[in-house]
Each structure stands twice: as C-alpha cells, then as structure tokens.
C-alpha cells in the first residue's frame, strides 16, 4: 500500500518527471509513492529520474496505456 498517490494521467514530458520529483521532495525516507501515468516516454524517463535521485522503483505495472510505478523514497 502506497503512502501517497500521484495521478499524472494526461501529462506529457517533462511533467510526470517534474511532478514526481516535487512529490518525492515532500516525502520522508521509507515512504512509498504510487505514480500513475499514461505518457509512453515515462517508461524510460521515470527510471532515469529515480536513478539520479537515488530512490527506488519497487514495482512497474503496465496495463494498456496506463503505467503504475511504486517508488520508495531513500
């Protein structure tokens, strides 16, 4: 179960990345963010961001157009 959910459906590059970063800034260590997007680019862009921030993607689910990431704040 995620501590927070960010719905970025309809948003395109670079918004999912910028919105995710903003949300992560507000979170404390160990908390989990559920990110829902439908931007195809996010499949590569969100891992690129998380790789830089040092947080962790624990799960990636692709369901049709919709992509759900579970991100754990480091």
């Amino acid at each position: 179960m995620a501590d927070l959910t960010l719905n970025a459906v309809g948003k395109k590059c670079p918004m999912p990345v910028l919105m995710t970063k903003k949300e992560l800034k507000k979170m404390s260590s160990g908390q989990t963010l559920e990110l829902i997007v439908d931007d195809k680019g996010a499949l590569k862009d969100v891992p690129a961001l998380i790789n830089k921030t040092g947080d962790m993607i624990s799960e990636t689910k692709v369901d049709g157009e919709q992509i759900t990431f579970m991100i754990q704040k480091a």
Partner: protein, 138 residues
C-alpha cells in the same frame, strides 16, 4: 561535483525556447546543472515581452502555430513555461546567460533583458564554466 551540461542557444524560435525549457527544468529535477548561453538570434528569447514563433511552419502560420503549440502543451501540463524555468533557476540548477558581444552587436540594453537572466558573459567566461562539462548547441 554536480554534473553540468552547457548549451549554446543561437535561434529565437519557439522550438528552441521549448527545448531550453524542457531540458533545463528536467535537468533541475535530476539535479543536473544547466548553463544556457544565448547568442546571436537566440538572445531574443531573453528579451522582455518577446514572443517566439514556430520556425518550422510556413511564413504566415509561424505566430499562429506558436499559440496552438502553447495551448496543446498547456493540456500536457506545461501551463506556465517561464514559471517552471524560474523555479529551476531558484533551485540553483539552471542559469541563463546573455552573450555580451551579441548585446553590443545588436544594441540590446541590459534593461531589455528579463530579470531572471544572469549578467551577460563573453565567450571566454562561457568556455571556462563549460570546461569540465559538455557543450551542446541548440
């Protein structure tokens, strides 16, 4: 040391503006520093009140296309591009440098340049800040 990417912006088009905005704000989110050096026609993008047009459109549609793209981008969530740039600047990760020589060449005064830009620099200063990073020409 934080990673830095340095960009030369030499055109005044909507396309170049959008690339600058997208790359600079995304880099900010990724804690990558960006220095943008606005030279020749690119300096127009830093002039107060300047509205970039779409270079890739045929002549009569350039301005209209910019309005259309802006509306579409707003639907994607990019509602306030300059506000996003301002935030990246405030985070200390994005810097906009006017080219001093272009200012002199085109008789552009310091007061014509938007307030969030840095003080103008010359080629040597830009190359010095880029020495340990990459330079990309937009």
């Amino acid at each position: 040391m934080a990673e830095t990417i340095n960009y030369i912006v030499k055109d005044k088009s909507f396309e170049k503006f959008a690339m600058m905005m997208l790359l600079g704000t995304t880099a900010d989110a990724m804690d990558i520093k960006s220095n943008f050096f606005f030279t020749f026609w690119g300096l127009n993008l830093l002039k107060k009140g300047y509205k970039p047009k779409v270079a890739g459109m045929p002549f009569p549609m350039k301005g209209m296309a910019a309005g259309m793209f802006k509306k579409r981008m707003a639907k994607f969530g990019i509602e306030d591009p300059w506000g996003m740039i301002k935030e990246a600047i405030e985070n200390g990760n994005m810097k906009l440098y006017p080219c001093q020589m272009t200012m002199d060449l085109m008789k552009i005064k310091a007061e014509d340049i938007i307030d969030i830009a840095e003080a103008p620099v010359g080629a040597a200063a830009f190359l010095e800040m880029s020495a340990d990073g990459k330079i990309v020409s937009l």
